[in-house]
Amino acid sequence: MNQTSNSCSNFSTRLETVSVLVHRAIDAIQQKTIKKRNLIWLELTGCSGNIISLLDGANPDFKSIACQLVNFIYDNSLMASEGEAALEKLFSMADGDYILAVEGAVSTKDNGMYNIIGRWKGQPVTAYEAVKKFGEQAGHVITVGTCASDGGISAARPNPAECVGIQNLLNRRVIKLPGCPCHPDWFMGTLAYLMLFNEPELDARQRPLMFYSTLIHDICPRRPYFNQGIFASKPGEKTCMFKLGCRGPVTRVDCPIRKWNDRVNWPIGDDSPCIGCAMFGFPDKMEPFISYDTT
């Protein structure tokens, strides 16, 4: 049930995409046909789950990205510097060339005072100010995870800090990688593609088609059960979880192929319904996450 079909060329090609892109970009850097780019990663109003997810990347892994693909200038969780010294690194990029990755939504209430990301020259710097300043000037902006892409959990009802997704504050195009968290492959593949070929093909909601083109339901290994009307009545059963409120039919992304934690498994493979974490409107519009006694 948890196996991805290796005989399907669609699946096997897609599984190779990210490693081919990243290694090709690294080769191009070594051969000096493209330049290493600077990367700034802002962790704003969220749980920092996306940077943790990135550290979980495998083939390619985080080390190849940080050492060979980009100059990782700033990320508050991973960098050695702290306090003003860390912010100094961020602000040293102010007029430079960089790609901006943002995770977390932006709190807008009271001029953003509910999320201070550090102090610069003695003054607090809000997430709101940081996104405006570094977002407008970046070469590319990638929103990593559902909060940055659409507000997500940070903007869930009743949203006391008035959080919004990054696009609401920037008057420019951003590339959105929703998912709670974002799969390391989705970020690494997008980054490598940007460096090699510029912007990848996006859908109407600015998601890269190479990862977000298919409904989970259309490539779900339990689809034959759906077609036959064989449904699970509680989590833990091995059949289709439509009656439990599965959101696979409304969620576009490639989890069934790519899976998680070094491609070990994914929610449906572990007998729990998809909760639509990569879909716009998550979490409010995807609730309830589980339903019983459905007819």
């Binding site: 093909e201 298919t214 979880m241 439509f242 009656k243 696979g248 519009k285 309830p288 339903s291 007819t295």
Partner: protein, 143 residues
């Protein structure tokens, strides 16, 4: 041209596109191009399945007539919430549709909406112009 002919023409267009895409797949070894072409094939397939469903149900898109004379008050509709043996019905523009087996209505809920209610206005704001209603079974009207 009537709706039926439009559906058939659109199916033909999609089949032609699929045939071109398959020709291209034979000639490319580039993995990115392959990926794109496979995505395109899947898109054409889902277009065709939508169009054939539409043809099967009725020729009129998003404007079907109730096939049943059954009348529902909003109160009666609320019993059809898709739970405990009741089917899942929703009303749109005073027509009652069955969404019990509709994949997008997992657990008889859909983007924060629940079955047994009138969903006319969210439907208009999210699905205007999409051939969705023609795929649903009509079960009656709101009085």
């Amino acid at each position: 041209m009537n709706d039926r002919e439009i559906f058939i023409n659109m199916i033909d267009d999609n089949l032609n596109e699929m045939s071109d895409t398959i020709d291209c797949l034979y000639t490319t070894s580039n993995f990115r191009v392959k990926n794109k072409l496979l995505n395109r094939l899947r898109k054409s397939m889902s277009n065709i399945s939508m169009l054939t469903q539409g043809l099967r149900n009725d020729t009129s898109m998003n404007n079907p007539q109730p096939s049943s004379d059954r009348l529902f008050t909003l109160d009666e509709l609320s019993r059809y919430n898709g739970r405990n043996g009741n089917p899942a019905y929703v009303a749109i523009n005073d027509i009652v549709y069955d969404v019990t087996g509709n994949a997008a209505w997992g657990g008889a809920t859909h983007f924060g909406l629940t079955a047994g209610t009138d969903v006319t206005s969210p439907f208009a704001s999210c699905h205007a112009g999409q051939p969705i209603l023609s795929k649903l079974k009509v079960v009656g009207k709101i009085t």
